[in-house]
């Protein structure tokens, strides 16, 4: 060991520095506080797992509940049948409110709306076209054979 090294060691030993009891108490107290805060900050690390389970179970329960409610309310078809049964069948008679009927002074001629006339005409046209086409075919067949 050279002189410098020996001397540096000796001189370092001459530095009398020791921690006071107050400083030790301070260090212990701050470490205690750090342990507390570390424990608090470590707690959320386990939270997501439990939250995941809770949210999953809640979601599943909600889904089952909704499905069961949907199935329980399903007799919609019956209800629609009932509704259609409650609707009165259309009649050809037209009834007007009494206040609309002027009495002796004015006679209101009410005619039934003929909504199917155009369709019937179309049907007749088609039938005549069909007969013409049939005649043409028969004539062609006669010429051929």
């Amino acid at each position: 060991m050279d002189d410098l090294k020996t001397r540096l060691k000796q001189d370092a030993d001459e530095i009398q520095a020791s921690t006071s009891p107050e400083l030790r108490a301070r260090i212990d107290a701050s470490l205690h506080a750090a342990r507390g805060s570390k424990a608090v900050t470590n707690t959320p690390a386990t939270r997501p797992v439990s939250l995941w389970w809770v949210s999953s179970v809640t979601g599943l329960t909600a889904a089952v509940l909704v499905i069961s409610l949907m199935n329980w309310k399903s007799p919609v078809e019956n209800e629609t049948q009932d509704l259609s049964a409650s609707v009165p069948a259309p009649t050809n008679e037209v009834s007007l409110p009494e206040e609309w009927i002027p009495g002796d002074k004015f006679l209101l001629n009410v005619e039934q709306a003929d909504l199917t006339r155009s369709l019937e005409e179309e049907l007749l046209n088609l039938q005549s076209d069909l007969e013409k086409a049939k005649e043409n075919v028969e004539r062609d067949v006669k010429f051929a054979f």
């Binding site: 001397r7 540096l8 001189d11 370092a12 530095i15 520095a17 921690t19 400083l23 301070r26 470490l31």
Partner: protein, 190 residues
């Protein structure tokens, strides 16, 4: 007796007793070291408190490739650097915070004898990081590689700095020896 690394491992597993043992091992050494870096006794006390608290908080991030001593000295150096170095005056001049304490807390802790303490000389003639490098190597027996890690400097920088510091202190030591020899000679012949 468990090694530092074994204690760190136990502390990482949650053993508070293991960390307390580490505190006990390093408390006095770190405090003496921080007195050489800080500008006042109070700053050194704050720094050592912060050092242990930071070490505890970031214990999980400790890399086992490092030595624990290197790691905790690195934290201590950082905390010492955070302490106020001096007071900026209104005219822009800089006054050391321990101007009224002689050469600072180190000077107050030295047992007086007939010769000058070489660390006081080193404090005056070396830059702070050079002083720390010398201290860690010669007092704490830290290898040069670990010193460079603790200071966050390159290995070559650490080697060169320590060589220069060693040269400088050797000169002072030789001058002191020559001076004392001259004094002794003058006394004997005087």
């Amino acid at each position: 007796m468990k090694t530092d690394e074994q204690l760190v491992d136990a502390a990482q597993q949650g053993s508070e007793a293991a960390f307390s043992e580490l505190v006990l091992r390093y408390r006095e050494k770190l405090f003496r070291f921080l007195l050489t870096r800080c500008t006042s006794h109070a700053d050194a006390e704050d720094a050592i408190q912060d050092t242990f608290v930071n070490a505890y908080r970031y214990l999980d991030s400790f890399n086992p490739r490092w030595r624990f001593s290197t790691w905790i000295y690195r934290i201590a150096i950082r905390n010492a650097m955070r302490q106020p170095v001096g007071v900026q005056q209104a005219d822009g001049s800089h006054v050391d915070a321990f101007a009224d304490e002689g050469s600072g807390p180190l000077d107050q802790c030295i047992v007086r004898n007939d010769r000058e303490n070489l660390w006081l000389t080193a404090k005056q003639v070396l830059a702070p990081d050079a002083f720390t490098a010398m201290w860690l190597h010669y007092v704490e027996d830290m290898p040069v590689k670990e010193v460079s890690r603790a200071l966050n400097r390159s290995l070559s920088w650490t080697k060169v700095t320590m060589l220069r510091g060693r040269k400088r202190l050797t000169q002072d030591l030789n001058r002191e020896k020559t001076g004392s020899a001259t004094k002794a000679g003058s006394r004997s012949y005087g």
